[in-house]
Symmetry: C2
Subunit: 456 residues, 2 copies
C-alpha cells in the first residue's frame, strides 16, 4: 500500500460561517473586528479569500427577511447586526474574486417566490461556475410577516409543508432545460433543441408555477441543498431534500445522537447516509497557549454591556424586567422551560438551576455564539476536539463560527488548518472545481433525463 | 474666457445596453459573437470592463421573469436569447471587478415583491459603492403570469397603478435608516440610534408592507430610477418617479417630440427638466469606411434564417401561416394596424404599404435592433448623428445597442468614443464615484430627514 492509499478516504468538511463582525455577541466592539462589516464589501472579500486560502469548502451567512430585533431600546442600540447585505447578491460579488470556495446563501421558503428564488440561485451557480448552495429555511422570526403583507407568522407545520413543496418546485424549475439542450451551432443556425425544454406545470397545495425557468440547467445540476433546523420538522425536511445540515450541539453525546438520528432517516427517502453531511457549529477561541486563549475569551466577555447580556436572557423570563437584577447573584426565580422546540431555553434554565450560574454567567454562556459550541484553547486542543467528533460519529465536518471577524478566521486558517492537515484529516488542495465535487456530492440527474442517463 | 469655460456644460450620457450576444436578431451566429453569452460570466466581465474603458455611465440589460418565446418550433430553435443571468446577481458579480461604471438592472413591479426588491437593490448599491440603478418595468410579456400562480396577465392600467405604489414603497424602505443612523462607537458600545430607524407601515390599494428594511440607506440614497416604456402610462410613471428614460425612435422629429413631451410632464410633479435624462437607443454598425460598414451590415442580415425573420413579422399578421410566403415579394395583404400601444406594428405596416417593402426587407428592417434606430457608417458619421440629436432637443445621451457582442462594443469604444471626446461632447475621465455623480443627478434626501437637511 502506498502512503496515499493509507490516507483516510473520508474527508473533513469545513465551512466558514462568516457573520458580519463575528459570532460573539460583543464582537463588533473588539479591536480585531470590522465594525461596519454588514455592508462592507471589502471586508467580505477579505473573508472569502481567507477562507479560500484555508481551503474551506464554503462560506455561509444566516439570514432573515426582516430586521433582527431583540431587547429594549438600550440593548437594541448596542447590537451590531442590524444592517447587512442580501446573501445572494453578496455571494455573486464574491464569486467574481474567488475561484474555488463555495457559497451557501440562506433564503426563505415562507417569504420568497419559488420562480424568482430558483432563478437567482441558478444564476449564482452559473456566475460562480458551480459553487452555489441554498440553505433552505422556513424563517422562524416572528417579526417578518408584516414585510410581506401577512397578518400573522404561519405556524411551523404549515411552513414546513410549504417548504417540502417549494423545494420540489425549485428543483423542477432548475431542470427546465436538459443538460444537452443547447447546441449553438453557428454554421447551421440551430441554437437549441425545443424537445429538451420542459414546462413544470406545477399545481400543488401551496404553489402554482408554470415554468419553464429562463436560464439553463445550473453547472451543478442543482445548487447544493442545505438545511439548518434541528426540530423534528427540520430533520425530516433535511432527510428528504438536504445534502448538508448545519446544527448546534455542545456535547459529543448529543451530537452523536443527532448524527445517528438524521442519518437514520435517509433510507425511507431512498437515500444513502453519505448523501447528507452533518456539520455542527464550533466557535473556536484560539491562543498560541491556553493562557492566551483564555485571556482572549475574557477580553471578549468583558465587552458585553449588561443590557445586551440581559436581552439574551429576557426570552426565558417572559414579562420580567431584568434590568433590576443583580448581575452577580442568581436569578431571583427560575421558571419551567416552555414546551416545544426552544431547546436553548432548556439549556439556560438547567444551568441556572443545577449549576447555580449567576445572571452574568448565564448571559456570558449565551454570548459566545448564541449557544453554539465554544472551544477555548490552543490549535492542538481545538484540532483534538474536531478530530474526536469527526472520528466518533458526531460530525462529517464543521461550520467554523469565528468569534471576531476578520481576526479569528485568520487565526483559524493560519493555526488550526495546518494542524488538521498534519493529521491527514483535511485537504491540502481542492479536489474539484465545483462545490459538489469538493464536498464529494453527486451531481443530480434531471427529472426529465432518460432512465439510462439518470442511472449513470 | 479660458478654454475650459468654453466647453459645453451639458454632457452626453452613454449607456451600453449589453444584451447577451448582441442586438441584431442573428447576432449569435456572427464570428464576433460569444454564442453562450447569456450564461458566460467571463463574457460579461469583458463587456463591463470594455464599457468602463470607454467611460460609459452605465451598462444595462433588459429582462422578463419568464422565457422569451416567439414564433414556431423552427424559429424558436434558432433564437439566441433563451437562457440568461438574473440581472441583479449579474451586476453584483461585475461590480466586484469594476470601479466606475454603473449598473442598471431591470426588475418587475408586477411580479416581484417590494421588500425583497428594495433589499436586493440596496444591497447592490452598497456592494458597488453607489453604482446601482433600477429599471422599473411592469412586464409586458403575456406568458409570465403562470410562473407566479396567476391565471391572467394583469392589464396595463392595473400594472401601472401598482407600479406607482410599488416604487413609492421601495423608496420608503430604502429610507428605513436615516443617513446618520449608525454610530458604531467601539468605546461606548453604542452601535446605532434607534430614533433614526423608521418602519414604513404602508397599507395601500395593492401592497401592505411594514418594514423597516434590514439594510442601511444606500450610498446613493436611492439607486437611480430608470423607466423604459413609451406608452402614456409609461411616460407618466417616468415623469413621476424616473431619473432616466430609455426610449426607441428612428427619426429626429419623433425623438424631439418625445423629448419635449416627457420633459413637459415633470413640472406637475414638482420636478425640473434636468432631473429626468432622456436616452434613446442607437444600434451603430461601424466601419472604418462607409463601404466597410455596409458590408458588415449585409453580412449580419445574411445570417437571418427565414423562419426567424418571419417570426418577427408574425404578430402583425395574426392567424396567418407566413412560412408559405415568397420572401422576395410583397406580403399578399396588409392588415390595418391594431389599436393601442403597439407602435412597432404601425411602422412595419406603413413600410409595407407606402414603401412597398418585400417580406425579406420588412424582417430585415426589424432584425437590426427590434425596430430601434440602426446607424450604419463611419465613426465620424455616427458621431454626427449622436451630436445632431444631442444638440437639437432629442436626447440627453444614448443607450448604445451593439449589434454583435463583444465585437461591436469594442469598435464603439475604440472608434466612436474618441471622436465624441475630440468634439468635447463626452467626458475624458469619470467625474465622480457614484452613478448619480457621473450622471449629474442629485442624491435624494430621506423622507424622514429634518426639513433643513432635506432642503440642503
Amino acid at each position: 500500500m502506498t502512503q496515499a492509499q493509507l490516507q483516510p478516504l473520508r474527508k473533513l468538511r469545513l465551512g466558514a460561517f462568516i457573520m458580519a463582525t463575528g459570532h460573539h455577541i460583543a464582537a463588533w466592539r473588539h479591536p480585531g473586528a470590522q465594525a461596519d462589516a454588514g455592508v462592507n464589501i471589502d471586508h467580505y472579500i477579505e473573508l472569502a479569500q481567507t477562507a479560500e486560502r484555508g481551503l474551506f469548502d464554503q462560506v455561509f451567512v444566516a439570514d432573515s427577511p426582516g430586521i433582527w430585533h431583540q431587547g429594549d431600546r438600550e440593548s437594541f442600540s448596542r447590537q451590531g447586526r442590524l444592517s447587512h447585505f442580501e446573501p445572494v447578491t453578496l455571494w455573486a460579488a464574491l464569486s467574481a474574486v474567488t475561484k474555488h470556495i463555495g457559497f451557501v446563501a440562506t433564503a426563505s421558503t415562507t417569504y420568497e417566490d419559488p420562480y424568482l428564488l430558483a432563478r437567482k440561485f441558478a444564476s449564482l451557480d452559473h456566475i460562480s461556475k458551480g459553487r452555489a448552495a441554498w440553505n433552505v429555511v422556513t424563517t422562524s422570526a416572528e417579526n417578518v410577516h408584516g414585510n410581506f403583507g401577512l397578518d400573522a407568522h404561519p405556524d411551523p407545520a404549515l411552513r414546513y409543508e410549504r417548504a417540502h413543496e417549494f423545494v420540489d418546485v425549485v428543483k423542477g424549475l432548475w431542470d427546465s432545460f436538459e443538460d444537452e439542450a443547447f447546441i449553438r451551432d453557428k454554421a447551421s443556425g440551430v441554437y437549441f433543441d425545443p424537445d429538451k425544454l420542459h414546462a413544470l406545470n406545477h399545481i400543488g397545495k401551496h404553489l402554482k408555477v408554470k415554468g419553464p425557468l429562463n436560464i439553463e440547467r445550473p453547472p451543478q445540476g442543482h445548487p447544493v441543498i442545505v438545511q439548518a433546523g434541528s426540530s423534528e420538522d427540520g430533520k425530516e425536511l433535511a432527510a428528504a431534500t438536504a445534502e448538508a445540515i448545519f446544527t448546534a450541539w455542545t456535547s459529543l453525546a448529543e451530537a452523536q445522537a443527532f448524527y445517528k438520528d438524521v442519518k437514520g432517516r435517509l433510507a425511507k427517502y431512498g437515500r444513502r447516509p453519505d448523501q447528507l453531511l452533518v456539520l455542527p457549529g464550533i466557535s473556536p477561541v484560539i491562543g498560541r497557549t491556553e493562557e492566551e486563549a483564555q485571556a482572549k475569551w475574557a477580553e471578549l466577555q468583558a465587552l458585553i454591556h449588561p443590557s445586551v447580556g440581559l436581552a439574551t436572557l429576557a426570552p426565558f423570563w417572559p414579562g420580567e424586567d431584568l434590568s433590576k437584577w443583580d448581575l452577580d447573584a442568581r436569578p431571583p426565580y427560575i421558571p419551567e422551560p416552555p414546551k416545544g422546540i426552544h431547546s436553548r431555553a432548556h439549556v439556560v434554565l438547567e444551568l441556572a438551576r443545577r449549576e447555580r450560574y449567576t445572571v452574568r454567567q448565564l448571559y456570558e454562556y449565551l454570548a459566545g455564539a448564541r449557544g453554539h459550541w465554544v472551544v477555548v484553547g490552543t490549535p492542538v486542543q481545538i484540532a483534538d476536539r474536531i478530530q474526536e467528533w469527526f472520528e466518533n460519529g458526531a460530525a462529517d465536518g464543521f461550520n467554523i463560527m469565528p468569534p471576531v471577524l476578520p481576526q479569528s478566521l485568520n487565526e483559524f486558517v493560519d493555526l488550526v488548518v495546518p494542524e488538521l492537515q498534519k493529521r491527514g484529516l483535511f485537504r491540502t488542495a481542492y479536489e474539484g472545481t465545483t462545490l459538489r465535487e469538493n464536498l464529494g456530492l453527486e451531481r443530480p440527474a434531471s427529472r426529465y433525463a432518460e432512465p439510462q442517463a439518470k442511472a449513470a
